[in-house]
Every structure is written in structure tokens, then in C-alpha cells.
């Protein structure tokens, strides 16, 4: 059974020594961000800021709910020391399960309601996360809910949103995101604004599902139920025809305007840079803000890894990629998204390699919108989760002249890739490369270099003797 709400999760983190309460007053204007950022860079605990300057007692900010593997494990109901490979396996196993949500008529997230002329987003302690950001980002670790007006499909995504005025937000879902596709294909042709709800402060698995690239048409809330192993309670918004998690801390209801825009950004984003995406987003007219009493704003002070984004996406993106590669008939064994690579770098191990398979992998990653710029393909004897082994394979097996293939594209690149020029980012122009660190398929066994490792170099009898005497030789545990 999953956590009922964020508050239950916080209590569990605290019992596991995974949460620190900051009791002194902290300034929402950069101080909360600075503490959180430094804490991320030390892989520190989740932080609950209990007293925020300019705001009433009881209004708090939680940074970093799942910014470490141990907190992801707790979120999944597993022991904190669960190995990453096991977390991947559990997530993959639960990812296919869906449990329909339960609809409720009264909800904690609607204990307090601001609507009409009472709407004032500045009554919530939205932080100025980094010096130099375009404004105060209230949506960093959120769930953005939108609905297809024809099919009724409800999409959950995670996109950044910034305070603009007391009753407006600006935001930047990428122009290739599912939210953008829905707006462009279903609302703009009718010149209609799109209802939207920005949900802040749910239990962690709902947020993680929002980062998972489920296919259009699939309701993420059902998969959140599957992942949690219990239904998500939903309640109807007060002013929009949308259903939102009933036990969220804050819900901002509004409309993405079809005919008005305003300045948004820049923002220090998940690749670890503020690379210049600005003034090309969306404008939201807020119609209501509902929140629990003593609301907790969830925050992820994005930047260089690790943080919630690089950890959560490591898991959610990898499983989705593995499924996609398998659907294409690629002999994939494992996919690992190292948090340090911020979903720009992917490791794929395959049951049989060679340039043809490497090319197929590259084709998969560049077929539609492209969020990945570098893929290392390794043979299955390399542990994809062990970056030491991956680096060794890359260094020794990737032919500098023949082992790298590049695909160029325009109109679907990741605008947040720091190495793309400002012009490329604006045109969504980019390139992705696959680094083939597998042996060529046409090399015969007798010419493939023999790996000089304990496991591959010695006869079984010798290895067994070595292992049998390992301890008594004073060399420690057998492994």
C-alpha cells in the first residue's frame, strides 16, 4: 500500500532519518534554494523548511522528496538500502499494473479555496529558487493535469511554472511535450483556452508517474494507482472540468490561454544549467487556488545532479526506453540512465551487438521528439549499472572511426541541451550520437579480444580454488 499523502511520507522519511526540519526562519528569496542546492550536492536528506519569511506559521516547503535512491526505495515501500537494479525491477514490474482512481466529493486539498478576485498566488511561499531565474517557481515538483476534449484522456506531466502576477502563471512545457501536443492539436484550432490544474504536494509516486513518458491516451493516474498498489483518490476541481488528487497540498486551477502570452523564464533546469530557454512558454489565467490548511509546497531545486529529477527520471525514463527498444525488436538486455547523465546520456546493454544494432538503438531514440543526445551501447557481459565497467567498454571497444554514428534533426530536439547553440535550441535543432562499445557482429569468436578479468580468464577449477582459499589467504569475503 502506498502512502496516503505527502504528510504520511514525510513522517516515514523522518523515522528513517531521511528528513531534516529547518526550524529557523528562512527566506523564500534564494535562501531556501541555496540551502537545498548545497544539500543536494551532498546527497543530503529531504528538507522541510518550517518557517518561511513573509508567510504565516504553518506554511512550509519540502525540498527533495525523492532525490536519493534510498528515498525512492521508501516511496516504493522497500528498504532504504535496496540496490538500484532492484528498484528498477520493482518499478518495471509494477509499471504495467493499473488501478482505477476513486472519486471523492470532499477533499483535503479543498480545505481552503481562493477563487475569482480573491485569487492571490503570492499568498503561497513560492521560492525564488536560483539567483537569476526569471521569477518565483511554484511548479518545480508538480503534476500538471490537462484533458483531451474529444477522448477525455487525462494527461499528467511535470512542467515548470512561475508566478507572473497575483492571478497569472507562466510556464514552459517543452513545445514537443504531450501538453503542447494536446494544446496545439485540440484547443488552438478551436481558439479555445485549455483547462489546467497544477498540483503540488502529492505522495511521491504520483509525481514520479508524472515524469514517466507514458504513451498519449493512457491515464497516468491509473498507473499511479498500480505503482502505489492502491487507488488514487480524485476530486473535481472547483472551477475547471478536471479531476485532481484529493490529498494534494495545493491545486492551482486555471486555463492555458490560447491568445495571450507573457514572459517566462529563464530557469536553472534539470540538465544542470540555465541555458537560455525563455519567453517562449504559455500563460495561465488562474481561476482558483485550493489548498490544505498549513500547506506544504514541494520543491526540487534543480541543478547539477543528483536531485529529484535526475533520480526519478533515471528510473521512469529507463523502463519506458527499455520497453520501447524491445517493441522495436532490439535485443536489449538492460537500460540504465545514470543520474549524472541527466537523461542526456543512456547506457543500453544488448544480447548481441554490432553496428546494425547500435544504429537501430539510435533510430529508436531519434524517431520522434528527442530528449537524449548520447547513447552508449555495450555487450551483455558489461554491467550497465556499473559506470566503471561502462567507461572501460567505451574506452576500449568503441572504434573512434567506425563506432560512432550521428543523427541530425530539426524541430524535435531537447531545447534544454546545453551544448546546442542558442539558435539550435530555438529551432529545436540538434544531433544525437550512439557510441557502439560492442564487438562487431562479423568478428569471429577466435579473433575477439579476450577480456582479462578473473571471471573470464581462468578455468573453473582455478577460480574455485582461489575462491575457496580467499578468506584464509586474508583477502576478505568471497564475492
Amino acid at each position: 500500500m502506498g502512502f496516503n499523502d505527502l504528510r504520511e511520507f514525510i513522517a516515514t522519511l523522518e523515522r528513517a532519518d531521511e528528513l531534516v526540519r529547518i526550524k529557523r526562519e528562512c527566506d523564500w528569496d534564494m535562501e531556501v534554494g541555496a540551502i537545498s542546492r548545497r544539500n543536494f550536492e551532498q546527497s543530503g536528506p529531504a528538507l522541510l523548511f518550517e518557517k518561511i519569511k513573509d508567510y504565516p506559521s504553518g506554511y512550509t516547503i519540502l525540498n527533495g522528496p525523492v532525490a536519493t535512491w534510498s528515498r525512492v526505495a521508501i516511496a516504493l515501500g522497500l528498504p532504504p538500502d535496496t540496490p538500484v537494479r532492484k528498484l528498477y525491477a520493482v518499478y518495471e514490474e509494477r509499471r504495467d499494473k493499473s488501478i482505477k482512481p476513486e472519486v471523492v466529493t470532499s477533499a483535503p486539498c479543498q480545505e481552503n479555496v481562493m477563487s475569482g478576485s480573491d485569487v492571490d498566488v503570492y499568498k503561497l511561499p513560492a521560492p525564488m529558487v536560483h539567483d537569476g531565474d526569471g521569477g518565483r517557481y511554484i511548479g518545480t515538483w508538480d503534476i500538471v493535469v490537462t484533458k483531451d476534449p474529444e477522448s477525455g484522456w487525462t494527461n499528467w506531466g511535470m512542467y515548470r511554472f512561475m508566478t507572473h502576477t497575483r492571478n497569472m502563471l507562466t510556464g514552459w512545457p517543452q513545445a514537443t511535450s504531450q501538453l503542447a501536443m494536446m494544446m496545439k492539436s485540440k484547443y488552438l484550432p478551436r481558439k479555445q483556452s485549455m483547462p489546467v490544474a497544477i498540483v503540488i504536494g502529492c505522495e511521491p509516486l504520483c509525481h514520479m508517474v508524472a515524469t514517466d513518458p507514458y504513451k498519449p491516451g493512457l491515464d497516468e493516474v491509473e498507473f499511479a494507482g498500480g505503482l502505489r498498489q492502491s487507488a488514487v483518490e480524485l476530486v473535481r476541481c472547483k472551477t475547471q472540468d478536471l479531476m485532481v488528487p484529493a490529498r494534494a497540498e495545493v491545486v492551482i486551477e486555471g486555463e492555458v490561454l490560447a491568445d495571450r502570452i507573457a514572459h517566462e523564464g529563464p530557469f536553472g533546469e534539470y540538465p544542470g544549467y540555465r541555458s537560455g530557454t525563455m519567453a517562449e512558454g504559455v500563460l495561465v489565467q488562474i481561476t482558483a487556488i485550493t489548498h490544505r490548511s498549513n500547506p506544504i509546497l514541494t520543491l526540487s531545486t534543480l541543478g547539477i545532479p543528483p536531485d529529484d529529477s535526475s533520480i526519478a527520471a533515471s528510473l521512469t525514463a529507463a523502463i519506458a526506453m527499455k520497453r520501447g527498444l524491445k517493441r522495436r525488436g532490439i535485443p536489449v538486455k538492460e537500460v540504465y540512465v545514470p543520474p549524472e547523465g541527466v537523461t542526456h546520456l543512456i547506457v543500453v546493454s544488448v544480447e548481441r551487438g554490432g553496428s546494425r544494432v547500435a544504429r537501430q538503438v539510435l533510430d529508436y531514440f531519434t524517431a520522434r521528439r528527442v530528449m537524449v543526445s548520447k547513447i552508449i551501447v555495450v555487450d551483455q557481459d558489461v554491467d550497465a549499472f556499473d559506470m566503471g565497467q561502462v567507461l572501460h567498454a567505451f574506452a576500449t571497444k568503441c572504434h573512434p572511426g567506425k563506432g560512432i554514428a550521428v543523427e541530425h534533426y530539426e524541430g524535435r530536439a531537447n531545447a534544454l541541451t546545453p551544448c546546442f547553440s542558442a539558435d539550435e535550441r530555438r529551432r529545436l535543432k540538434g544531433a544525437s550520437a550512439v557510441f557502439d562499445a560492442t564487438w562487431p557482429e562479423d568478428w569471429e569468436q577466435e579473433v575477439i579480444p579476450t577480456k582479462s578479468a578473473f571471471a573470464t580468464t581462468y578455468p573453473d577449477a582455478v577460480k574455485q580454488k582461489v575462491l575457496a582459499n580467499w578468506d584464509s589467504d586474508g583477502l576478505g569475503e568471497k564475492s
Partner: protein, 95 residues
Amino acid sequence: MSQEYVTFVRRLSQLSEGKQTLFIKDLTPGPRKYDTKLVRAELSKTASDGNTLWVRSETGYLYPQPWKIKILEELPPYVAGQPWQDVFAAMLQAK
């Protein structure tokens, strides 16, 4: 008392002196800091009077020398345009 604002530009060379329409953020301390306004204003690099306008680039780089700003008119805080359209281009079109 002099007030301070910040605005963002793609390139500093695209910001001109004289009467301009631009988005600014109010830097007055308090819970409404960073509230955004769209204004018509007189901008100057060298004037000695007026309020302070800090300028940042699209990466958030803070240009060391602030400008001066005199707000002539506060406009509704948006411009006509479609989502994902370049706001600066939309403002030029509106001009």
C-alpha cells in the same frame, strides 16, 4: 524613494534607449517581490534620475551596469500571441 526592477533580454544589444514596451519585475522586498508588469517606459543608460532597471540575459547573466527607467504607462500583463510563440517577436508585431 527609488524603486528597482529587473528585465530580461536575449541580447543586451536588443535593448534600446528611449520609449520602449517591456516586461519588468518589481524588486521591492516583501511577498510580492518579482511581480511582473508590462509597461511603456522611457529607458536610459546614462540618466541620473528615474528608477533603477537591472538587466539580465536569457541565461540569467546580470549585466553589471543598471539602466534607468521611468514608467509612463502600465499595460495589461500580457501580449497577444499563441502559446510557445516568441514573446519578444509578439511585442514587435504588436508595435
